[in-house]
Amino acid sequence: MTVISRGWDRLTLPGKVLFLLIPLLIVATVGLVAVIVLLGQPILDTLAANLPIVRFVLAVTIVLLMTIPTAFLIIYMEMKIIALMNLRIGPDRVGPFGSLLSVVHGLKVLMKEDFTPTGVDPIVFTWAPVVVYLASVMALLVVPFSNGIVGQAFNLGLLYFFAISGLSVVGLLMAGWSSYNKYSLLGGLRSAAQVVSYEIPLTLSVVGLILLAGTMNIDTIVRNQAGWFTDWYVFQQPLGVLIFFIAATAEANRTPFDLTEADSEIVAGFATEYSGMRFGFFFFAEYVNVFIISALLVTLFFGGWNAPFPWPWPVELSLDPGSMGIGLLLLIGLGPVVLTLLFATPFWLASSRIKAWQALIIGFVLANLFIVTLVGAWAYVGLDWVAGILWFMFKTYGFVFTFVWMRGTLPRVRIDQLMDFAWKWLLPASLLNLFITAAALVVVKGLR
């Protein structure tokens, strides 16, 4: 006993860790191999037999995971862009240009006490953030990121989207009602009134587009807009875009329609009593919603993942790694070394102050950049889904920027003005849009 304990004490901390880890790894590896050998075929067969389900589960997982960095990025954008518009600097301490501050915020929210005040309805109170967050994630599932990169493509995608995105109001209402706080109640009711009212112009504004596209399949709508940017639906539905933009802003509770959490009026609205990660869910859902409405705006009206112009020099890259034979091995083995040396040499020669190892580091970084650029360029040209994602993200974050920009500029409207605007202006305008579109279609078909 004493021998063992003395020996254990003599180990350093990494030593102790390794002492435990190595046997564990050995056992795990052996076990894994055994499982694969014994059960591998049946598992593979099951998976292959249910491929759509596997694909769906994977897609859901990826979308769920994707929301977190998206929210972090948009939160950072919001902090930084509004700060710059305010002539401030904004976050600049954590990470390059403060870009990790939102991550730190996320961690902070995770570590905070998850407080349940007296008098709340605990079940509803706990589930409200989940409902809100899941509504966002589920809406994201039908957004096509690129050609073929879509969580779940189906024919009624657009309808599904509107159905699900309206679901978040249930969560907000739950939060407002269960919090046992008048501010929360007001916030919840406001959001109910607002989202329900704006749902109508939002949906109606797309009906014209559905008439034009002849389908509610989002993927088809995007494919219809391929070619030059003049083929985008924005040029056929300018009024529809405007209405969709305004109504989507209200739908996502963004300034100037952020009445549900108007901090100068009702403290934090439905989220007043929330803290910790429950609040974090609301917070994340809000920013995911911003992403979703931007993405949908891009998808429906701005060509989705289509580039604004067809690539003028169609390239057929046929790269068959197998044909290179030994050359492939040489390329993989020697390419980085040669490139590193190649990029390092000029720096080493240029200045005697730069030592050899510094030059090598610079060369290594530059070589990596070069390879990444090369591979990226190849992927952009050769793989159309990469190009699609790039264009999609570019456009989407452009709209995210617009939403943040609006938040930095505009004051908030009042609840009665909000309702007036929805029912007296947006709804007639969207009906007008629908009428004009339908009439134009009839006329065009008649002429044909």
Binding site: L84, M85, N86, L87, R88, M406, T409, L410
Partner: protein, 225 residues
């Protein structure tokens, strides 16, 4: 409002976008600091003289004069405890007076090694009774206390403060202002001896001075043995 709806909003958006690219005004605080104005009066600090001795006499006058009473006197006492001047009695007992006296730089009995002699306050109570516990008669009370005890014991000062309701700082300020009031026994031969022990005899350094100056026959220099 303009005739075209949304023009005002667009103007505002254009302005914020322009500001987005303009230089920023933030002062990066810990790295970059603006100087306080020369007339800045918010810096509270104690000054030291050129020998590194604290110039504060612990007279409590600043604490007393501060109109909004934001100045508190405090310090480390001989047992290493920190005290503020004004607070509940139970928390720091009698130490603040000792601390204050010690920090004044005057020769005071060191309570760490030699506790205060217990003082019979009966005499003081009679004096206070005579003056009807009236802080307006503070000087007379102090003088009579000194006459009774030979000096002003700290315990007596505290008692006076307690009984008259006068602020301790006020009493201390009064007492320290008048030269004839003292906080230690005047006839403390022990102390005098201590001081004398540490000082070279006059004759010694006078003789050395004379030697340095070259004789004692200079006019105006009294010759001493």
């Amino acid at each position: 409002m303009s005739l075209i709806p949304g023009l005002g909003l667009a103007k505002g958006m254009a302005l914020t976008l322009r500001r987005f690219f303009e230089p920023k005004v933030t002062i990066m605080y810990p790295e970059e600091r603006i100087d306080v104005p020369p007339k800045f009066r918010g810096r509270l600090q104690l000054l030291y003289d050129e020998w590194g001795t604290l110039k504060c006499e612990t007279c409590f006058q600043c604490a007393q004069a501060c109109p909004i009473e934001c100045i508190d006197m405090g310090g480390i006492d001989t047992r290493g405890r920190y005290h503020v001047h004004w607070g509940a009695a139970e928390t720091y007992g009698e130490r603040r007076e000792e601390s204050a006296l010690r920090r004044s730089g005057r020769p005071v009995p060191d309570p760490a090694f030699r506790p205060f002699q217990p003082v019979d306050l009966g005499e003081l109570d009679r004096i206070l009774e005579d003056h009807d516990h009236d802080p307006a008669d503070m000087l007379q009370i102090l003088e009579e206390t000194q006459a009774a005890y030979g000096y002003l014991p700290v315990a007596a000062l505290k008692r006076i403060s307690h009984e008259t309701g006068a602020w301790y700082a006020m009493i201390y300020g009064t007492a320290s202002y008048y030269a004839h009031l003292r906080f230690e026994p005047a006839a403390s031969t022990e102390q005098a001896q201590e001081v004398a022990d540490h000082r070279p005899l006059e004759a010694t350094y006078l003789a050395a001075l004379d030697a340095a100056l070259g004789g004692s026959d200079r006019p105006g220099t009294p010759a001493r043995a």
